[in-house]
Structure formats: C-alpha cells, structure tokens
Symmetry: C2
DNA sequence: TAGATTGTTAATCGATTAACAATC
DNA sequence: TAGATTGTTAATCGATTAACAATC
C-alpha cells in the first residue's frame, strides 16, 4: 500500500479522523464529503483529501466517502486489525489507571502482566492482571509474545529498564517517564510527557494574558 | 518580551529544553553551547539558537549559554514562575493518579479539590484533596481562584461539563477525555488523547514491519 | 446528462537548516 | 588579540492550501 514514507504530521491526524468517523458511523451517517468533514473537524477539506490519498483512494467522485468503509480502512492503516500484547512496568497509580482503562475499553490491546520493584506488590493483582518481580520481565515477554511495553516508572529507572528491553524482541515502548529513551531502531517509542503537556498549557495561559494586556494599553 | 506570535512547534519544544537544562544544572554544568546541546538532544544547533532567539538573546558570543540562567528564563516563559490552582473533574483511577503525582512533585500546580458524579465518592478524600458533588463546581472555582480544570471523565460528560465551564472564569482545561471541546477563546485547551497516542504507536509498529518486509524481498 | 466531489498537480506558506557577520 | 559561538539573515525544505481536470 504505502510506498513513500508518510510524515508524522499526517500520522498524528489519523487517530482524530478515526474518532470522528467512528462517531459518524455510530450516528448512522452513511457517507460524508471532505467538505462536510472539514466543517465538523475544523480543518481544510484539501488537507483531508491529501491525507487520505497518501494511502490510496478511499472516496468516489461526486459521492464522497463511505463512512463505515473509511473508518475500517483507517483502522487497518493504524494497525488496529492486529492484536497487541502489552506489559506494564511500574504498578503505581498511573499504571493501574492505564490497565484499568484498557481492560474496560478494549480495541485489541491486551495487558498480560505488570512488573514492580516493590516486593509488597509482587504476587498481587492490579485491575485483574498479575504483578511480577522485575527479574521475570524477559521471561514473560518471550512467553506471552509481548510487543508493547508501557513504562510508568521514574526516569532514572526508565533509562535502565530501556537498556534491558533493548535486548528483548519487543517492538514498542509507550513511555510515560519524563525522559527520552535510547533504544535500537527496531523499537518504536511513543512518549507521553504529561509534565511537558502541562507546561505547554501554562505557556498558553500566560501568552493569552499577555495578549489581552497588550490590547488594553 | 515576545511581540510576534510564537508557533506551537516552538512552544512544544520548550519543555524539552527545560528538561535537559534542568538535568545539566543539577549535574553542575555551568555553561553550554548550542552545539553541545545539539549533540545531547539530537536536534540541530541552528534550531536551538533560532528557538531561543524568539524570546530574546539569552547567550553570549564566544561563550554559549549559562545553564542556570537559561533554565530559569525558559521557566518564566513557560509561566512556571506563577502558581496555578487546579481542580480535578472525575475522581477515577486516572484522575487520582494525576493528583497523587502533582502533590508529590510540585512545581507551582496545586490541586484544590476534586468532583465526581458518584455520591459514594463525594465527601471522601483522594490523594489528600476533598471530593465534592458536581453542583459545587462553580462555587469552588470562584472561592479557590481556580485557573486550570483537569477533565478525566468520559467524553459525553466532558462535552457537557465544558459547556458549564465556559461560563466560569477558568483559564484552561487539561483534557483527558477522548473528544474535542468547544470553549471560548479565553479558555486554553490542552488535549491528552491517550488512545490517539497508542494508535500512533500501533501505526509505527506496523509501518516498521512493512519496511522490513519490503527490504527482505 | 449535469452536478458534485474526488484525486492530484501547482502555488503558497511556514518551518528548518545553512551560512556568516557581529561580538564576547 | 584570536578563537569561539551567538544572533540573524538567506536558502532550503516540507507541509498546507488552492485550483482544477478527471470521473462517478
């Protein structure tokens, strides 16, 4: 399908399209034009058509796009037609929240186990999955065919664990630690830097204030 | 200070600079050149200088940048020199995790209260802050001078709550609901769409596999 | 067929990188 | 002073938007 590399700018927009199309599908909307979708999502119709066309033609001239079909196709592009096995490293508050959420609203992402340094947690369950000691990691990854590791541990530990993970056959790390990770190219890293996000928010608050102050003068 | 509008691309990089400079400062590094920082962060030295210069000259020719000074200045730009009062709406797993995290590692962001629809939770404490009924929201916002509302509730409710919030003097929403919010321009919205993030990860796994398959042929 | 809307090329805009003069 | 490195302008690159021919 895709020949040339797709830019991350486009990739970042796909989940949002997927979300809107899912809603439309659920509302029973059978077809939608790039112009209608444009109004709904507050992006240009041109961008929508360009984005979709990176992956081949999903529409029909004079008709638009079939909502259900487009939804399914974008799902495939996003790899949601494959199951993913996950483990959690760091069975703290945030980790438990993620496991709980995934269990509840599944879309092919399955948590198989959690790991924690705290001996008091080892042997217990969080949100229905067992917590193991850290030294069981490599074993469980192999046995359960884990692709995705979710890292919810402090940055110092995250850096060390990433080194260990680099030698395992995992394919991705969903990194919630406040640091960048050095891993081989074969492992994809998706960072969720919550503190960065909050700082961006803080910047925008300040910026908006400033703008208002200047206008007043 | 800033006259022309700064692009969000630049703003998004500031927290990462802040992170690296904080680490350098803690390691006792007194000064750093754009070239050294470039190697460390894997971005071009040119971009670093451009980014900093959007906000005025922080460096010195022939010397580089003073780590501590630059760190403090970026902190100011990010608005971290002002305190922010926050409330949590949705005292579930994720919300509790965020409150717990913020309480522990404070940087001027203070959670004052939480709100939940569940009557069993109202009157209790989560991570040291009181949980109120939803109808107390506007009152608490005014009394506690809340700027930032953290939304960790399902999307259907989030949309409704956003409507209520639009009429309050809050300045920002940190939105963890899987939807976009329609609020006045005076309210900044920072979205953390975790499922979008996971889909991006899934895409990149798939993309990498595909690349490998093609190479083999 | 006529009208609508895509797919796609060309034009524009903005962001990144390169280069170098200014200056510590 | 000479060397180093910034601040800043100019060149390049990529992403977004506009336009329109193809076609359902």
């Amino acid at each position: 399908m895709e020949t040339k590399e797709i830019s991350q700018a486009v990739v970042s927009r796909l989940p949002r399209y997927y979300r809107y199309l899912g809603d439309l599908k659920d509302e029973g909307v059978e077809r939608i034009s790039s112009q209608e979708l444009s109004k709904l999502m507050h992006v240009t119709a041109s961008q929508i058509r360009q984005d979709f066309n990176h992956f081949g033609g999903f529409g029909q001239q004079g008709y638009g796009y079939n909502t259900e079909y487009l939804y399914r196709e974008i799902g495939k592009i996003l790899g949601l037609d494959h199951a993913h096995n996950m483990i959690l490293i760091g069975a703290g508050n945030l980790g438990s929240a993620l496991v709980g959420y995934m269990n509840y609203r599944n879309r092919g992402f399955f948590f198989k186990a959690a790991f924690d340094v705290n001996p008091a947690k080892v042997g217990t369950d969080i949100a229905g999955i067992p917590v193991y000691a850290m030294d069981q990691m490599a074993d469980v990854i192999e046995r359960e065919k884990i692709d995705i590791v979710v890292l919810t541990i402090p940055k110092q530990e995250a850096v060390k664990v990433a080194q260990v993970l680099a030698a395992t056959p995992i394919r991705a790390i969903w990194n919630f630690a406040h640091c960048d990770l050095a891993v081989p190219d074969s492992i994809q890293v998706e960072n969720v830097h919550l503190s960065d996000s909050l700082m961006r928010l803080s910047y925008n608050i300040r910026q908006h204030e400033e703008g208002r102050r200047k206008k007043k003068q």
